[in-house]
Symmetry: C2
Subunit: 661 residues, 2 copies
């Protein structure tokens, strides 16, 4: 009978967990669908309105007819400067609303959120970061911020609201409430779904949650992420926000094959990605520090000035004025008879003008991204990076096409009847390079780019570009921007991606000597209270006795406080406290249930590298160090980071060492 | 100056490591290219020869003309039964050569090798499994075995020879010789390259090495796998074995979109995959056990009978006679004006005949795979599984097409001008389902199928099919066939994919009590010798003294033996042995350098789940257990597996619990 009940409980809890994941997926997919529709409409109304159907975007308004000559879509005024004024006004209104909502209701909804989520998954708690207010405000303000034309993307914030959904649903379901590791699994799965819907790339989402979010990959998490991403993307596909039956705005298929003489250009694009990945975070971090020090009280005003700058400036460049995904859609396309947008494909147009315009757009995009990312609205950096890479790539592509047209005899392997140089593919590869540079990811970027376009024949070029970018980042660059933000904000993340190099040093070099220990059955209530008031350690090791300091366990300060607050206080300060399992006589306070009897213990001769491995892979908050059966020290993540900092100040370039090995 | 030297050393070792990976990639790519060419030729000559160019396969011989009517390709004889005889004779010759070579020169080259590689990566050593003889024999015999028409694939063996290459190159480079974890990284990267070249799917290879091979994913391994797979695939692409500029034989692009009414069929295909994944391993394991018990001495004869059966039987079914990749190529294709092979696309052909023929091929393929996989030639199970899935899927697709043609009015969402049901996509999805069922992988299967075909619009259907298969495997099935082989062969692998469920039991329940310990400085040579002869433990814990059993370290039996063999024997049996760091006086034997002073230690109240986690994620061979500062036990992987076995014999279905949670 007991078996039956335990079976039923087990079945219920398993069903509930999968049901929960499905609900999370459906909600994320629905939010993403609404976001896509609203964002497109907001971006659209800045330039005009649909006569008769005010709620339609330009694309839907002109459905079936040429967008350039569509009669249903009218600009706001017949007088161009008035339109310019309207464009800026609407942009300002949108961004002001977004930043006001964020400031008043959920300050934690600002920015990207990926750095914080990485820390949360690795076991660090940030209060209110994944709550309902953050979820609602982030979902509401994201379309406003993007619609305002600021140089920011929806991918980081998508991960954030997705993880909020995951966290809130997990909390509603009782059985995850007290199981941190299961909760983290939910969060990882939701993050996968967030990337999946943001890019329309389900497998990319799963790989992202593997490569970027998880501190340590537990393989059952992969399956959960897969399931959640699938449900979310299917929901999004069913909503069909672009009415194209496709998940992304820029699905392209390249019909031609790449040639070996293109490899040097792939390498150039890869180098661009590497430089982008080194310079943009560097300057952006400088701007963020400046903002932190001087602009904290002027968040609203800063956003307004940024919007004013961006809108007034971008209006005059054809590639900057468009929504970034829309402009990528144009840049990625192969020139065919069906597609002749913008004169980009017109053989008679002035190619040099386009090259200049594209390079200018690249630089402007970089500059705007540097100053915008980190301001107090929901903001991601993936899409602006891709846009900058795409404009650069297209410029390189057009340049190469010009060269090819001038010296066709140099390219013997080209079939004269076919196109040999396709500038669209370079835009695509440039976007991949910049994305890889800014995130410091490899597999994820290739899978996402692959899913965005279905360019199966371009998988080797994409891999080459990303590999070059990654090699440059490894040799000269710092980490991805998410990690750099973590370091800037002083969050205690031991990055699983790093090989910490401590030479042959032992754990005893980095550990803190233990000064406050609790003997298992010789402590009085008075001693305990004075320990709590006189020290501020968050944990206390329990030892057998003062004379025999063998390790018995470890106890949290919070748990002691909880116990003392919820206990009848009819004891005197001389009442004994007992921390060891068993049945103490009624006269003693029994704290044994609060003791963790299985702390991780290492011997004093354990190497630092090995100890760091334990932190990263097993995830304890503290590790105890013993020698000859006696407690001699305690080590936290912060001890390791502090030690690493001081250690590598005196040794050759640390990052190179760990990245390249 | 020291800094300069250490810098140079560092630079050399890093360059060497990347150079090594590049060399591994190039070798793997080259072997794969040769394999592809030889295999295609061997499979081809069974049916005839190319007049004038004996060394050409049928495809190259008839390049540019229709294969059916090509005049350069002639059957061996004009008399059909003689051709049948020739077909069988050549098959027999090929498989006999393969099994003879394997038997004489490298018995370890038989079979797939994936199970063993999983164990090796998780820290278990198998002598000779990754050496030069295995590499050479496996590469030589693989095309022979596949060419003979036996129902086996090249994917598993590709991973094996790739890993051999990785291991041999790593051994040639001195700096990996003594660093097991770095060596394993090389092996993982080589495995990724092996899958990449076998399927022509670089990202699939990387994800495979993540999902299947690595016990624990260290993220720097991902980048190495990526690099190695890229180099290998680029080499293969440069060799261009199929002369199509493509990496795989069956690249297909589906131009149409899937419809929601197809979802029930996707679920049916998923269920097929689940059933396949449950039944085939079950029966195959039975056959393998039978083979182990009764056929060990008849390996050659067994292979001959298998070939005889396969060849004589398959000759009469159009889908079985062809090489499996070739037949998949046909089954995956959409029927267009350019493609009308086999009458499959002929609207006037008898569809019912095809359905019967396909279902028969499915059943026959399953049966042949069950009896063939595990015989003593290099043999993989991925491709036969995909072939079985593809024939089944195509049958379902044709059935559905017939239904659609009969009742077109039921499908209102179909555009009358376009094709609505494409049987080729079902073949593709069926192959994905069977592959997922046999391997118990999800992400890898989707990425590989995606890369094989570039079917970006079919990614959601593929994910649905694989998810259904996986859910069925989780609920009713056992693990993937590689894991089942590991269990059958009694290899000590703690699968990282599993959540081991031990309830709340403590480590003390599973540990072995320590009987043989060595006090750090009170042991004599005589005692040591007698310890070695009287016990057969592979490690001995070192304690402070018999009276104070606090843990000092652990020492390997092999290391003690090495020390004793390489030491001048001018000591008597009463000479003291010292195991503690420091400078003992010249009268003592100093074994301190052989002692591992940092064994993993857990307290007796640590839970079993947590301890298992340590084994899986950190990878030690042994864990010591202490209580109150004293050594009380020792635990190995085998202890855990034995304990799990006895524990779950008395509790409800273990696999369901761990898989579904």
């Amino acid at each position: 009978n007991t078996t039956k009940i335990s079976w039923r409980n087990w079945f219920l809890s398993v069903s509930l967990s999968w049901l929960g994941l499905a609900v999370v997926g459906v909600i994320i997919g629905s939010i993403a669908g609404c976001l896509n529709i609203i964002t497109a409409w907001l971006a659209s109304i800045r330039t005009g309105r649909c006569v008769g159907n005010f709620y339609l975007t330009k694309a839907f308004c002109c459905w079936g007819s040429n967008e350039e000559t569509c009669s249903h879509w009218e600009p706001w005024f017949q007088f161009p400067p008035a339109n310019y004024f309207m464009f800026i006004s609407i942009s300002l209104l949108l961004s002001f609303t977004a930043s006001l909502l964020v400031k008043v209701y959920a300050p934690k909804a600002a920015g990207s959120g990926i750095s914080e989520i990485k820390c949360i998954v690795s076991g660090f708690a940030i209060k209110g970061f994944l709550g309902w207010p953050t979820l609602i405000i982030k979902s509401l303000c994201l379309p406003l911020a993007i619609g305002s034309g600021l140089s920011l993307g929806k991918e980081g914030p998508s991960v954030h609201y997705a993880v909020c959904v995951g966290n809130c649903i997990a909390k509603l379901m009782g059985n995850y409430r007290n199981r941190a590791s299961k909760g983290r699994e939910f969060i990882t799965a939701a993050a996968a779904a967030g990337v999946a819907v943001a890019f329309g790339s389900p497998m990319g989402g799963v790989v992202y949650s593997l490569e970027e979010i998880s501190a340590v990959v537990h393989l059952s998490t992969i399956w959960k992420s897969y399931f959640c991403a699938l449900v979310a993307v299917t929901t999004l596909a069913a909503l069909n926000p672009f009415r194209t039956g496709q998940l992304v705005m820029f699905e392209v298929t390249f019909d031609t094959n790449w040639q070996y003489f293109e490899v040097p250009l792939f390498i150039i694009l890869g180098i661009f990605g590497g430089i982008y990945g080194i310079l943009i975070p560097k300057y952006n971090i400088a701007v963020v520090s400046f903002r932190k020090n001087y602009l904290t009280n002027f968040a609203l005003r800063e956003v307004i000035y940024l919007t004013l700058l961006t809108a007034s400036f971008c209006y005059f460049n054809e590639f900057l004025r468009l929504d970034m995904t829309e402009s990528m859609q144009i840049l990625f396309r192969e020139c065919t008879v069906n597609f002749h947008h913008h004169g980009l494909c017109d053989p008679n147009s002035n190619k040099v003008r386009f090259i200049v315009s594209l390079l200018f757009a690249t630089l402007a995009r970089c500059g705007l991204t540097i100053i915008t990312y980190g301001c107090k609205v929901p903001a991601g950096i993936f899409v602006p990076s891709m846009a900058a890479g795409a404009t650069f790539g297209r410029a390189v592509g057009i340049l190469f096409e010009l060269f090819y047209q001038k010296y066709p005899s140099l390219f013997v392997s080209c079939n004269k009847d076919e196109k040999c140089v396709i500038p669209g593919t370079y835009a695509f590869l440039g976007a991949a390079a910049a994305l890889s540079g800014i995130t410091d990811l490899t597999v994820t970027v290739v899978v996402i780019m692959f899913e965005l376009t279905g360019a199966v024949r371009y998988i080797i070029p994409t891999m080459i570009v990303v590999a070059v970018t990654r090699a440059i980042m490894d040799s000269w660059g710092d980490k991805g921007i998410a990690e750099q933000m973590i370091i800037l904000n002083g969050m205690p993340l031991l990055d699983a991606k790093e090989d910490f190099h401590f030479g042959d040093l032992y754990v005893s070099a980095a550990m803190s000597t233990v000064v406050s220990v609790i003997p298992q059955d010789q402590f009085t209530l008075g001693q305990l209270n004075s320990l709590l008031t006189k020290t501020n350690y968050t944990v206390f090791p329990i030892i057998k006795s003062i004379d025999d300091q063998s390790i018995v366990g470890i106890i949290d300060r919070e748990d002691i406080k909880y116990f003392l607050n919820h206990h009848h206080h009819n004891e005197t300060s001389s009442t004994k406290c007992n921390f060891i399992s068993g049945n103490p006589n009624g006269l003693e306070l029994n704290l044994a249930p609060y003791v963790n009897h299985a702390p991780i213990v290492v011997l004093a001769f354990t190497t630092m590298s090995y100890t760091t491995d334990l932190f990263v892979k097993i995830g304890p908050s503290y590790i105890l160090v013993e020698e000859e059966g006696k407690l001699v020290g305690i080590l936290s993540r912060k001890d390791i980071l502090r030690f690493e900092y001081s250690f590598h100040d005196h040794t050759p370039n640390h990052h190179k060492t760990n990245a390249a090995l």
